[in-house]
């Protein structure tokens, strides 16, 4: 009797499910326009933009600084009259270092707040998580961090470097310095693994040897074995794609093993000024980094940016490449909107090609075809004061090539 009752409840629930599913099927074909994207709300005298960064969790360390520099750009633009006569009203969200949360918050910014554009994300994983959300809603994301390439979404503008603007120039530099063999060390996630594939293809085409390749789980702080392997390999240089905390442990171990910037230099692509501060110059002095911007990059635009940043957030706060790229992204969006004469996403996209901006890193140009930007590559050396000084640059902005189509050796990669 009782069991029967239980079954009836269960059966009832199942019927409901089936009914609901059927109801949904019925309306499946009728509704097409609902998925056609959400128009931004620009009716008032302000325009909302979304800021989507991790303010809590493991990624907060890096992403908070990006949030700060986006806010700086918005304040500057508002002080100068806003965009198309409207003040920018930032709506901040916390991605909490959790990828599904990023997707959820992106959806909220687009659908509930009806923002005109979103600035943010840091890790590839968070970008991959929100990408379908932006594409589905036909909304814009400005992504400010160097990344592994192999992506070109019509609804994302990539203002950080792609691989041919950071990794390839870094390799060019090493080759010019006479490095014949490399050891690859990286965190176990998308960027390092993809970067290392490119590096291996490059090395093969340029007569360099890759003597080893090791990955540490994200957040890992145990580098005894990897350092042993690196040391015994006798490579000319190490290409380091480790992320975050792991860098601290790696460089401490590296120095303890008696390896130095002169005996075996390390080129890092995830260590900017902020990270130098937390690792310590004791361990980093003389090591190399590859970026597009350093706090020390010369030029009036940068002097103004650094001064404004320090005035707002404190004299001890360094500026770094992702912060600069985030700062620039807001200005680029402003220029696109003004050229288009509207906040409409499709019009903004169409207007984007050829937009230029005198950025702290130098002149940058939006490439409408890839929605990446042309930027100058720079290799720098960590000094005793914790700042990075440029030792080489590419001379001119490099056209973005996220799929490395113009590099014959990269044929098998994408």
């Amino acid at each position: 009797m009782t069991l029967f009752r239980g079954r009836r409840i269960l059966a009832g629930a199942m019927t409901l499910v089936a009914a609901a599913a059927l109801a949904a099927c019925g309306s499946k074909t009728t509704d097409q326009n609902t998925s056609a994207g959400v128009t931004a709300d620009v009716s008032g005298d302000t325009v909302k933009v979304g800021l989507l960064n991790s303010l809590s969790g493991t990624m907060a360390i890096s992403e908070v600084t990006v949030r700060d520099s986006i806010m700086l750009a918005i304040e500057e633009i508002n002080a100068a009259g806003g965009v198309l006569g409207k003040k920018i009203q930032p709506v901040g969200e916390d991605g909490a270092s959790d990828w599904p949360t990023f997707a959820e918050k992106a959806e909220k910014l687009i659908r509930e707040d009806r923002v005109a554009a979103v600035f943010g994300c840091w890790t590839s994983a968070s970008r991959k998580a929100v990408k379908p959300v932006f594409e589905k809603n036909k909304a814009l994301l400005f992504y400010p961090v160097q990344y592994e390439g192999l992506e070109q979404s019509p609804y994302i503008f990539y203002t950080g470097a792609t691989t041919n603007q950071q990794i390839v120039p870094g390799l060019d530099y090493l080759k010019a310095q006479g490095a014949k063999s490399l050891y690859l060390v990286g965190s176990d996630y998308v960027f390092p693994r993809t970067a290392n594939k490119i590096i291996k293809a490059y090395a093969e085409a340029n007569g360099m040897k890759v003597l080893g390749e090791d990955y540490a789980p994200l957040g890992s702080t145990e580098f005894g074995t990897i350092t042993n392997k690196v040391k015994s390999s006798g490579a000319d240089a190490v290409f380091n794609t480790l992320n975050g905390d792991s860098n601290v442990a790696f460089f401490k171990e590296y120095k303890s093993a008696g390896l130095t910037a002169t005996s075996m230099p390390v080129v890092s692509v995830s260590i900017a000024e902020e990270e130098v501060k937390s690792i310590g110059t004791q361990y980093l002095e003389g090591q190399l980094t590859a970026w597009n911007y350093y706090q020390t990059t010369p030029g009036a635009a940068n002097e103004k940016f650094v001064a404004a940043y320090k005035a707002k957030y404190g004299a001890d706060k360094p500026t770094s490449d992702p912060m600069e790229a985030a700062y620039v992204s807001v200005y680029l969006w402003k220029a696109m909107v003004e050229k288009a004469g509207a906040f409409d996403v499709e019009k903004v996209r169409q207007a984007s090609d050829g937009i230029t901006f005198e950025a702290p890193e130098g002149l940058v140009t939006v490439d409408g075809a890839t929605q990446h930007i042309a930027k100058t590559a720079r290799v720098g050396k960590v000094g005793a004061d914790g700042l990075i000084t440029e030792v080489w640059n590419s001379g001119a902005p490099i056209t973005p090539d996220p799929y490395l189509k113009s590099y014959p050796w990269a044929g098998g990669l994408s």
Binding site: V17, D94, T123, R193
Partner: protein, 386 residues
């Protein structure tokens, strides 16, 4: 409401409670049916009418977490097994579903986009192939987690690894699983997980109407799981499970094998977590290692503890409330949310081990014969369980 009989000590006086089984069950049954009807009305009529598409999809996500919570309530609240690695089963279910949907998106004979990008594989790895068939993938979302739970559970319960040891081992399992998934980027998507899922058995997930359909499926499944769990809790097995929780050795002396009793609850809880993971994928469009590790696994437990671990509805309401509070609060006060989450855990678990449900229980005490074990957990028995 009268509070006369609140103190359990008074219940030991010579006048026995007169409640005879005759009156109790039918009233309970009526209440249960009414409750389910009310829940169904709330989930199927009220929520879709009141909430925007976006909020409804959030609710769908919360309900998935609630499904995991039901299982934890069963295993932990009723069975005393603090399952701190439920993320593993959630992930197994989620990945099984996402693998199928990715393959369906790619079309027959094609490989998912990320494999081409990151894996540089020439053909689909062998272990992916069966997931192309829904007849394999769908049962796998539930059976795979259950099988893993069965293997781990029969290993550890038989050797009487329990209490804290079990909790720590299940955490370590979660950590190991994350490392394994991330390490196999070419075939699992690494830290990115499986993203950008477009279709759900032929329905375009970008279409809000279909999102609504997914919500209805999730709500219906939740109700079904509640019915199943209610039945389990009230069956003889449910009574036995409580007995094992409170006195494993004693049950052994009665001639039962407690390992089997625990194993069943653990495996059922794993199946529920797997189902939740599988439904989470079409609702949110992503499954990644971030949903699996130690922290999310503990966060599954928080709602259960706050709602009331040994009750049927407590875990569900607790999980939904906590998930909602996180969304609402972390939007404005990210740091504050961390403090609040920590404080909630500390205050509820330390000072209100029955969860918020025990407050309701205090008000309602004294009406009916079948009192769930809300009110106080016996101290001796938990010490014994360690």
């Amino acid at each position: 409401m009268t509070t006369v009989a609140r103190d359990p000590v008074t219940a030991a006086d010579p006048t026995p409670p007169a409640a005879k089984p005759a009156a109790g069950p039918s009233r309970h049954r009526f209440r249960a049916v009414a409750g389910f009807a009310f829940g169904a009305a709330l989930l199927f009529a009220v929520a879709p009418l009141l909430l925007s598409d976006f909020r409804l999809s959030l609710l769908a996500k919360y309900l998935c977490v609630a499904m995991v919570a039901i299982g934890i309530g069963l295993a932990w609240g009723r069975g005393g097994m603090l399952a701190l690695g439920q993320g593993v089963f959630f992930g197994l279910g989620g990945y099984a579903m996402a693998m199928h949907l990715k393959l369906a998106d790619a079309g027959p004979g094609n490989m998912p986009d990320f494999m081409l990008l990151y894996g540089q594989l020439d053909e689909l790895p062998l272990w992916w192939r069966p997931f192309a068939s829904p007849w394999f993938a769908l049962p796998a979302t539930v059976l795979l987690p259950m099988a893993v739970a069965f293997v781990l559970g029969s290993l550890v319960f038989r050797r009487r690894v329990r209490g804290a040891y079990f909790a720590i081992l299940s955490q370590a399992l979660a950590a190991a699983m994350v490392i394994l998934l991330i390490g196999q980027q070419g075939t699992t998507g690494g830290t990115n997980g499986l993203t950008d899922i477009q279709g759900f058995f032929g329905y375009d997930l970008d279409d809000p109407v279909n999102q609504r359909m997914v919500y209805f499926i999730i709500a219906g499944t939740l109700l079904a799981l509640l019915a199943l769990t209610r039945h389990l809790m009230q069956s003889r097995y449910g009574e036995l499970l409580v007995a094992v929780r409170d006195g494993e050795e004693r049950v052994r002396f009665l001639g039962y094998d407690p390992a089997t009793v625990k194993l069943v609850a653990y495996v059922v809880a794993a199946g529920m977590a797997g189902l939740a993971g599988a439904l989470f994928v079409p609702a949110v469009g992503i499954i990644s290692p971030a949903m699996i590790g130690i922290v999310p696994s503990i966060e599954f437990v928080i709602g259960v503890a706050i709602g009331g671990r040994a009750t049927l509805l407590g875990p569900v309401l607790g999980a939904v409330a906590v998930a909602w509070a996180r969304t609402a609060l972390s939007e404005r006060f990210p740091g504050t949310w961390t403090y609040l989450q920590g404080l909630l855990f500390v205050v509820v678990v330390a000072f209100l081990p029955g969860g918020l449900a025990s407050l309701v229980g205090l008000l309602r005490r004294g009406d009916g014969e079948r009192r769930p074990g809300w009110l106080r957990r016996s101290r001796r028995t938990e010490a014994e369980a360690s």
